[in-house]
Subunit: 255 residues, 4 copies
């Protein structure tokens, strides 16, 4: 049985997806008919529910992938294909403390908060107040807001933390903030950057070369989807060709 | 100060990497000179160490990415680009219980064990004893072995667990084991599969269509590396073109 | 000076493109204003022309690329990225005789006719009359129709030619026509196939293995476009992810 | 029957390829045995020939693809995947006159000479004499040398032709020669450039913006090979990830 105030995902056979925090009263209205919240509370995840028009919906617990893809957004978000790789490169896991800037709509924030667990902490900086607000709503929806400290301020003033385990910058001119990084992270801490243009990568690489940084890695991650039809198995016609370049390095103490 | 029996990573300026569990006595011998373990124990992560020939090495704590890439292997391993995406799709995080088969060399096992934390558990099946042994050594090296239960047995006999949160199959004929999945996972649990050939994907899709499964997603993930030289920024000449197709679905209860 | 009845291409600064066979009288009407055909006839290729609203258009001779991209279409066309590679693999050049089926909208037909020159010949089969008609109009527009013989008939009856230099099949079940190929082409002739699904490629490969064919090559060609903005140089956001698989082989005589 | 002094291609069942200009006397010696030239002259293309050890070779007329791939090289060559696209964008076909620089090993030169036919002409510039010599040998081997005029000189001095139909530059700093282009090509002529690094593309785009040039197109072409095994159809493990960026534009007369 699903408890009230749980975030659920309902997917129709036509692959239309709805996310709802289920209350004791109310209903979900779709083009394929209506589902009473009471029906949902009396069901379990992994079951099928019928609308009043007899259409079938799958009742599912959103995965981290679903949470990230469904954040309400006013910005370009970081996609799961990049987020997964970032987690491994930045060594994010239970108990870790990590800084990110800017928060944006909170897609990466959601994944970081999910992975650091109750013992870890995410420090998320965003100078534009409306984005910071939006991200906080997204984290609240996912019930992960208590693992994040939001800072609605410019990182030009530096970071308020010390000795964090990792740091990720998704900002336009990350090279402007390199000196603040040293004060905020543990020596050897993994660092990540997302940049949409080659010009930005070139500028960042130039600054990283001045050290003290570990030789950087620059990658792009491409996701190719296939039509899941066994009789006509083939790639989809269109794909996302570019979200950004990922740059990874680590802060090294001078000798 | 680094404690004895810690796994450390030493990287030369020529990008040659060494992993060692540092003991109180002993040394690392490289083409660029020798480093005493005592030197390492007296240093901190993020520092630079000199060999007796005066060559510089970076002393680093391995990230999850480093752990995965450095597993001793007798099999093809699952790469970080796939592992990251699998974590998000399978909703792996602190406290989760997850089944995987086959264990192989333990690359994915390492990442799963890292992410489920002290409260979670990984159940890893492998019928070939030498691989199971190798994986256990790799997990021990990463100090994650206590989060994994290894089963050196064929999954044709089914899984010993019930109500696990997620399941991943990296086996040659996953369609042979679909009936066992229902008994092992929670309803709605996310499921993942890795398959190298289109023929296998076609066969799996045919079986999944018979249900009761959520409409599957089939993707490929491509990683493109760039030479990190700011004056001549360009993609690398060669790339890994194919590791496998990832298939994701979820177990849905029949009406 | 441009002669009447010439095919010209006019491109606005907003990158809107118009193709017209210019007559002695008449005009081109665009959202950015009107251009009299007389203006065009008094200009030369490579010049700029103004509409009556003062907007600039480039007057250009269409390249083969432009011709192919602008064929009027009722079918999926073969793209320039594939056509170029097909030309090299099939050894198409001045004087060559080549069979293709089906004609479709005539995109590949246009390229083949362009390349074989006045001494060569293209034999193009298409069983659906409306497509054959459309292709003939497209070839006429490009003034290449006299280099092509169109056959509005099913290739299940075989081909009418013998000793042609090369053959290309863009049909749904090419394996049904392999026996007809031997009678139509020179021994050793290069053969090409375009197939959208992996299932079709698998079936074709199975038939080719039965011989007598040269070991096949299977490739996919991906085109990645970049935004040509020097200050923000980056790949475009979306790309065509799949048009089809190209299979190449050669007919080998049995011993 | 094959005439003496013909270039032939012999491919073993193990996919080992040999190119030879067959003389009246002599032989081809391979690891799989010896084939007398007389045997070849008494055979036809598309036939199978046995070595004195009984191993089978396919006797084939090299296609343009084969010619390009087999040029003797001292430089990076332009690959067929790029060459095909260049031909369409530059409108190369029978009768066309085209300039290229640098000649390099002559791979693109071969394709251009093949396509312009007996009526066309290729003007190929290369300042390094050893490359120019090598390219001439490659063109001679393909019996296409009479369609090419080689210029062993620096294009800093400009081009000697006027009113050519198209021009391609594969040089390190193409922006240094833009002013020479105007004098050499017809107005509206298509222009192409190959550049390995993003920095070079950025610099070229900056110069092209100063005009008078048609808005440029920047693309990359990726070729993905598949293992042609019907029971295990899958992409190859490794691929060429980058050869260069292609930039296309057209020379437009100032108003």
């Amino acid at each position: 049985m699903i408890k009230p105030n749980t975030l659920v995902m309902l997917v129709s056979e036509k692959d239309k997806t709805y996310f709802r925090v289920v209350k004791e009263e109310g209903s979900l209205n779709t083009n394929e008919g209506m589902i009473e919240y009471r029906q949902i509370l009396e069901s379990n995840f992994g079951q099928q529910i019928s609308t009043h028009l007899g259409k079938t919906f799958y009742l599912l617990k959103p995965t981290l992938y679903d949470l990230v893809k469904s954040v309400k957004r006013k910005t370009q978000i970081i996609y799961p294909k990049e987020i997964g790789y970032i987690l491994l490169k930045l060594d994010i896991g239970p108990g870790k403390k990590v800084i990110e800037a800017g928060t944006g709509s909170g897609a990466l924030t959601t994944a970081l908060a999910f992975m650091v667990g109750e013992e870890g902490k995410v420090y998320s900086y965003e100078k534009r107040e409306n984005f910071s607000q939006l991200a906080q709503e997204n984290l609240k929806r996912a019930n992960l807001q208590h693992r994040v400290e939001f800072f609605n301020q410019d990182i030009a003033e530096g970071f308020l933390q010390q000795d964090v385990d990792a740091l990720f910058l998704d900002v336009r001119t990350p090279w402007d903030y390199l000196e603040h990084i040293f004060k905020a992270v543990k020596p050897g801490a993994p660092l990540g950057f997302l940049l949409p243009t080659t010009n930005q990568v070139i500028t960042l690489l130039t600054h990283l070369e001045n050290g003290p940084f570990y030789p950087p890695e620059v990658v792009e991650i491409l996701l190719r989807r296939y039509k899941p039809v066994p009789e006509r198995f083939r790639p989809q016609d269109q794909m996302v060709a570019h979200t950004g370049f990922l740059v990874f390095s680590r802060y090294i103490e001078k000798k």
